[in-house]
């Protein structure tokens, strides 16, 4: 075990011990998760459910999962495996691709099943009846179908139920003598900035519409998330939003859910420079990790790519001066021409240098790390 300090007092990954890390790697910091979870929850003024999909590293969940007292959102049997026996917090199972095995296993874990469709609901009811157990059920409502929400066309997606099916689901549950415990919607990743008030208003209208139904025993209303990683720097009027929620829902227990807003800042992606070359005057640093390990860094899905500048830890001391620096493109270790991770302006890079990309704590598994049979990134957790 490497017990050399690699974080300074500000928990920056800067100490010489960082060179002991096996690269490419991720370093996740539970202290940052705890900080950001608490801050976001306080800012929202509601419960905060954490999406396991954003960071399914068991060692990180081991260190901070107990803080997620409002619950965790799970989308697969594999994610359920991570948490069973290890996270005594509410579980919400949400996926459009629910299987009977996932439903039965989730029931065994006393999870809340969020039905995405009438057919899913039928499966849940059938399994509940066969097992003769009480099941906590919620309904996922398609955000664009919330009454009066008037969301932009881009908000249309394939998740959840429309209003007709939502009402039919309530009837169906009533026929079985059961109840709906909650309503859930999710407008999509990074949509919170533009849609949060509309979603809240639409959900409030839906709650008003269904609350008189005898099957509606609403213990929570989940407004979803889509909260960006840099939520602190957005133009959202948080006090105004909290007041908006209070006026719409009164004392109704509300939830938001978050993934990148909780995890992004906790993670660093670290690569080592394998070599530096020049092509027609352009300087390029080739690294031992890239888009196969941190797909989102390559920004292949972005129309406008922002310039990402990693921090540099010089392998050779003393540090080379900025005067000798030349702008350098940082590329990964695949044969994909889109495997460009960032640019370095003020350092002259050399073999062995470490490049540290901040803000990589969420969705790191959203990477094609089977590509080229490259080795998987090492995962480290900060103490």
């Amino acid at each position: 075990m490497n017990a050399a300090p690699i974080l300074d007092d500000a928990r920056e990954l800067v100490a010489p011990g960082a060179f002991e890390l096996e690269t490419p790697c991720y370093v996740f910091d539970p202290v940052v998760v705890a900080r950001d979870h608490a801050a976001l929850k306080e800012t929202l003024g509601t419960g905060l459910v954490v999406s396991v999909k954003a960071n399914p590293v068991l060692d990180l969940l081991a260190r901070c999962g107990h803080l997620f007292t409002d619950g965790i959102e799970i989308a697969s049997l594999g994610e359920l495996n991570l948490t069973v026996g290890r996270a005594a917090v509410p579980r919400f199972i949400t996926t459009p691709a629910m299987t009977s095995n996932l439903v039965a296993s989730a029931i065994a874990c006393r999870a809340t099943l969020v039905a995405d469709s009438l057919s899913q609901l039928e499966m849940i009811l059938k399994i509940a009846e066969a097992r003769r157990v009480e099941v906590r059920i919620a309904l996922r409502v398609n955000t664009a179908c919330l009454p009066g929400a008037h969301l932009p066309p881009s908000a249309q997606d394939h998740f959840g139920m429309d209003l007709t099916d939502t009402l039919a689901a309530l009837e169906r549950v009533h026929q079985e003598g059961m109840y709906i415990d909650g309503l859930h919607t999710f407008a999509g990743s990074n949509t919170f900035l533009s849609n949060h008030r509309l979603v809240a208003s639409g959900m409030a209208a839906l709650v008003e519409q269904v609350s008189g139904h005898s099957a509606a025993r609403l213990a929570f209303v989940s407004l979803g998330g889509g909260i960006p990683a840099d939520w602190r720097n957005t133009s959202i009027d948080w006090p105004g939003y909290r007041a908006h929620l209070s006026s719409l829902f009164g004392q109704m227990p509300l939830l938001h859910e978050a993934g990148r807003a909780v995890f992004s800042a906790c993670g660093r992606f670290v690569v080592r420079v394998l070599g530096v070359k020049q092509i027609d005057g352009r300087q390029i640093a080739v690294c031992d990790g890239g888009m196969a390990h941190s797909f989102l860094l390559a920004q292949t899905e972005n129309v406008l790519k922002r310039v990402i500048t990693p921090r540099v830890l010089d392998a050779a001391l003393p540090s080379r001066t900025a005067a000798a620096a030349k702008p350098t493109v940082v590329i990964g270790n695949s044969c994909n021409r889109a495997d460009v991770l960032g640019r370095v302006q003020e350092h002259r890079l050399s073999e062995g240098d470490l490049l540290i990309f901040e803000g990589c704590g969420s969705y790191h598994t959203y990477s094609p790390n089977g590509f080229l049979n490259l080795k998987s990134p090492r995962i480290y957790v900060a103490s």
């Binding site: 075990m1 060692d59 260190r63 069973v84 290890r86 065994a108 090492r378 995962i379 480290y380 103490s383």
Partner: protein, 225 residues
């Protein structure tokens, strides 16, 4: 090894001259709890394994282990071994007359190699080190160290991040080493709410109970970092 001090050692209860001279004195109990990571500023490789569950019945069985824990997980399995290894090494260094260690270990650290110091011929690994004591007493063994802990390295484990060290059947010549250990131990520095208490021979049969009282008498504590 880089274990950070949680509280200065002078907060450890002093062990008075009179304690060593008390009738029936046969050793001491040192206890404390982790209130933060003793390896702050370092990183450890992810080590925990996921159980290969596939059937609902299996999930139901594992759910039996799930409970609200009073303290957070602060260590990785390797770090737990490192802490215990350091304890054994320190005690050997300061008290060379120690003849036997009884050390509590438990799974699920299956992916992690045990340090060789914990596999030495005079280190007995067991779930309940106190249970070794009758046989050790019967054989007349002196200078025995038993280590109980509830250091959590996985949320599925019980424990309150407590560490209890019993140094028992101490011979007079071990006193100086024990006092050096109390003054200098890196492991003890990592513990909060340290307590040192004499153990009388008549108390040997209820070590667990005495330890429980020591642990419960401290406020359960812990943060993520």
């Amino acid at each position: 090894m880089s274990i950070l001090a949680s509280t200065p050692l002078h907060e450890t209860n002093t062990f008075a001259e009179s304690d060593w001279q008390a009738p029936g004195f046969c050793g001491l109990q040192i206890s404390g709890v982790l209130s933060g990571s003793p390896f702050s500023g370092t990183c450890h490789p992810a080590e925990l394994g996921v159980m290969p569950l596939v059937r609902p019945l299996e999930y139901a069985e594992v759910m039996r282990f799930e409970r609200q824990a009073p303290v957070p997980v602060l260590l990785s399995p390797s770090q737990r071994y490192l802490l215990l290894k350091t304890l054994v090494v320190e005690m050997r260094q300061y008290v060379p007359s120690i003849s036997v260690f009884g050390l509590r270990l438990f799974g699920p650290d299956f992916n992690v190699q045990l340090p060789r110091e914990l596999l030495a011929s005079d280190v007995f690994i067991t779930h309940a080190p106190q249970d070794l004591l009758p046989a050790l007493l019967d054989s007349g063994t002196r200078n025995v160290v038993l280590v109980h802990h509830g250091l959590r390295a996985d949320p599925i484990e019980r424990g309150e991040n407590e560490l209890v060290i019993w140094a028992l059947m101490l011979s007079p010549e071990s006193r100086e080493g024990i006092e050096s250990f109390l003054s200098n131990s890196v492991v003890l520095r990592a513990l909060a709410r340290r307590r040192v208490r004499p153990i009388l021979r008549e108390e040997l049969a209820r070590l667990s109970e005495i330890a429980q009282i020591a642990i419960q008498s401290v406020e359960v504590c812990g943060s993520v970092g």
